[in-house]
Chain length 188, copies 2
DNA sequence: GATTGTCTACCTTCTAGTAGATAGACTATC
DNA sequence: GATAGTCTATCTACTAGAAGGTAGACAATC
């Protein structure tokens, strides 16, 4: 039972660092010190494992974002929960958002996994949208267009920031993240 | 000689649609109607082909952006050259920026190709930076921080928009692009 | 006659996935 | 409490196919 979680965690890491198509059962088996066949015992095929990774990511992020929203009434503190996750991925210099990795590989990833990841993306966009709507209503955030449109921009920019940061250095990635926040701040 | 260009074009397309690691010499040979061995005659190995793709992309984008900059003195018209390329990739619903595809796959792609792609990224960021600096000086664009920081944000957001658009539909991708422009516009 | 572009036929390595065996832990029954 | 059956997690050993790549032959062209 523990093993299954262990496999899932390493697989998630590999999806974030190398992408779905570029990691193998062999890689997993070496990392975990068990044989490929044992992994097949827990996850029948790579597609099943990929789907499980997507499900786990959705659950984890939903839990983290829900907690962050409930922890305060200040939209800036709420949204910081998302930025903190992005920031830690950038700081790792290896991981990018699994959704980003999957979006980039969308033509290669098995359908059910891709669908779950899109669900994850939509979850984040809705969550962001709610918060910046409050922020605008309270006069502490400014942006053009609808909250959803701006939420999609923030999400896209954050995805890009993680990839940019991994390729060009932590400092540059964090700079983009800072700039996203600056763009939201009122009275320029 | 023509063949070499032909291979390069199809390879570029495959990098954009499937990513470097997820396309094969076999795929290429089927698309082109020649054998794998013939492709090896033109490009000794996959890494060489990948590097050539990156070089071609850099040349193409540099030519397009230079032309766009020279075509006008209006920063909004100049920057539209970049947005038009992003927009056409989004509209294709298949292609994303090759640099984005490579950034997402950075741990998998051969070093020289990755370096060329980073060169390409830096080229675009510098180009954007110059234009929005002019835009701000002329009072037709507004943004917080330095031009470079804002250029990195625009680039990251555009990368994200292409990936978001491919996974969630052309309409959503174009909406993000619109929002990037809106954010740059003064007097909100 | 050398060069260029293509072919067929092959090699090696890696891939996901399968078959079948084994050892240990739980669970019912005698 | 011993016995028999079942379940779980693992193993070794294998398969078929795809991957990148090579060797050498054959025409056509310059």
């Amino acid at each position: 039972m523990d093993r299954k979680q262990e496999i899932l965690e390493v697989a998630t890491e590999l999806v974030q660092t190398h992408g779905y198509s570029a990691f193998s059962y062999h890689d997993l088996s070496e990392r975990l010190g068990i044989t490929k066949a044992s992994i097949h015992h827990h996850f029948a095929g790579k597609a099943d494992l990929g789907f499980a990774v997507a499900e786990k990511c959705l659950q984890d992020i939903a839990a983290a974002l829900t907690a962050s929203k409930q922890s305060s009434n200040d939209p800036w503190k709420q949204i910081e929960g998302y930025f903190a996750i992005v920031s830690s991925d950038i700081r790792s210099q290896e991981r990018i958002c699994p959704a980003g990795s999957t979006q980039a590989d969308i033509n290669v990833v098995p359908e059910p996994m891709a669908e779950k990841m899109i669900e994850l993306v939509q979850y984040i966009v809705s969550w962001l949208s709610d918060i910046i709507k409050d922020g605008r209503d309270q006069g502490v955030m400014t942006f053009p267009g609808t909250p959803r449109e701006q939420a999609e921009l923030i999400f896209s920019a954050a995805q890009g920031a993680m990839q940019y940061g991994r390729a060009n250095g932590e400092k540059r990635g964090l700079s983009v993240l800072k700039q996203i926040k600056a763009t939201l701040k009122p009275k320029r």
